[in-house]
Amino acid sequence: MTARAVTEATFDQEVINNEKTVLVDFWAEWCGPCRAVSPILDQIAHEHADKLDIVKLNVDDHPGLAAKYQITSIPAMKVFQKGEVVKTVIGAKPKPALEADLAAYLA
């Protein structure tokens, strides 16, 4: 399963009001590490589809949301539960390291 793209318009529905735990990957086309981590997030999304929703937000197209969540470094991966950020992971990491960071939301 490939992570879905969310937008300013769908953010409330897909993230804030999502009953499941959601990871939002804040990324941009020009960010090399973002492109590197993207397939790893796709794999995690596929392997843990029952536990975690993974969506992507393009910060170029949606600077308002990037500013709202005080993004200053990408890739930034924020885990939302009941509309609140409960965990932030910054920077591209190998899959085992990312899984370790997200362990609490994958089990």
């Binding site: 960010c31 973002c34 590197a36 910060v59 005080q70 200053t72 470094s73 591209a92 190998p94």
Partner: protein, 324 residues
């Protein structure tokens, strides 16, 4: 078993792969999972790589190198090496996935990693205004006052790049002269948004949840002062990435892997090293590429001296793995 495994996917790794593949050694190249392509993946315009009179984007250059290596039969694996055993005639390389590969020769082209300031608040504010990647993060500093720490080419490149977004970019440097090349210096000096703070080092990073400023210390007088900032980019150099080979290969006092003379031969027979991991001095894409070439030629020569039965074993299993 393989004839050769190359660890690293920067200019050194891919050039080694191009030469090894054209020598019919069917190299396996371990590219890393998230740092594939190496340091040039985070740069924009590369203006000094020969053959590109208009310049080339770092990621485009690395894609081309990879395609060239694959064209001649290099197999690229996107995983990280977690351990190596370089002793003995057969070397083993273990990946993050747990998979183990054997080879008669290994080329270590693991490059270097960003050096940190070593301040207690650096880790805490990393991603909250402290950054090592201007091309990744510059976008988020639109209209802000920020600073770049460092005096080399990468510091000048970052400072110049960041003026696209920031309203003001300070360059904080420990000395009163720059290490950067003339062209990069002149570009920075000519930029109205860039201001140099000479003879100063960052003694502390200020801010509760995000960078609000830095504590500066004058390296001549020792006087401390505060500078208000919305972001801090660290470009104070790189350290060779040798953790995989500690205890197995000799290192130099600079921390690079020790190689014999102009060759790529390490202290272990059958193990060669290339690129920034052996180079404390030049550290350019083109010198790394040249060094990768040397390592592949050295490895090819080494393999030609090995007993036939050992080589036969390597090519048999390779064929088997191809047909499987």
């Amino acid at each position: 078993m393989r004839q050769i495994i190359i660890i690293g996917s920067g200019p050194a790794g891919y050039t080694a792969a191009i030469y090894a593949a054209r020598a019919n050694l069917q190299p396996l190249l371990i590219a890393s999972s998230v740092e594939a392509g190496g340091e040039l993946m985070n740069t924009t315009d590369v203006e000094n790589f020969p053959g590109f009179p208009e310049g080339v984007q770092g990621p485009d250059l690395m894609t081309k190198m990879q395609e060239q290596a694959e064209r001649f039969g290099t197999e690229v694996v996107y995983d990280d090496v977690s351990a190596v055993d370089l002793t003995g005639p057969i070397k083993t390389v273990t990946l993050g996935s747990g998979e183990t590969h054997e080879a008669l020769a290994v080329i270590v082209a693991t490059g270097s990693a960003y050096r940190k300031l070593g301040l207690s608040d650096e880790e805490r504010l990393s991603g909250h205004g402290v950054s090592w990647c201007a091309t990744c993060d510059g976008f988020f500093f639109k209209g802000k006052t920020i600073a770049v720490v460092g005096g080399g080419d990468s510091a000048m490149e970052e400072a110049t790049f960041l003026t696209r977004f920031a309203s003001k970019v300070y360059v904080i440097h420990r000395k009163d002269t720059l290490r950067a090349s003339k062209i990069m210096q002149e570009r920075a000096f000519a930029n109205d948004k860039i201001e140099f703070i000479w003879n100063s080092e960052v003694a502390g990073i200020l801010g509760a949840d995000a960078v609000e400023g830095v504590q500066l210390r004058d390296t001549v007088t020792g006087v401390e002062s505060t500078l208000e900032l919305g972001g801090l980019f660290v470009a104070i150099g790189n350290d060779p990435r040798t953790h995989l080979v500690h205890g197995q290969l000799d290192l130099t006092p600079d921390g690079t892997i020790s190689v014999g003379g102009r060759s790529s031969k390490t202290s272990q027979a059958g193990v060669f090293a290339a690129g920034d991991v052996v180079d404390p001095t030049y550290r350019q894409a083109v010198t790394a590429a040249a060094s990768g070439c040397v390592s592949a030629l050295d490895a090819e020569h080494y393999l030609s001296t090995l007993p036939q039965d050992l080589l036969a074993k390597a090519s048999e299993t390779e064929l088997a793995s191809v047909t499987n």
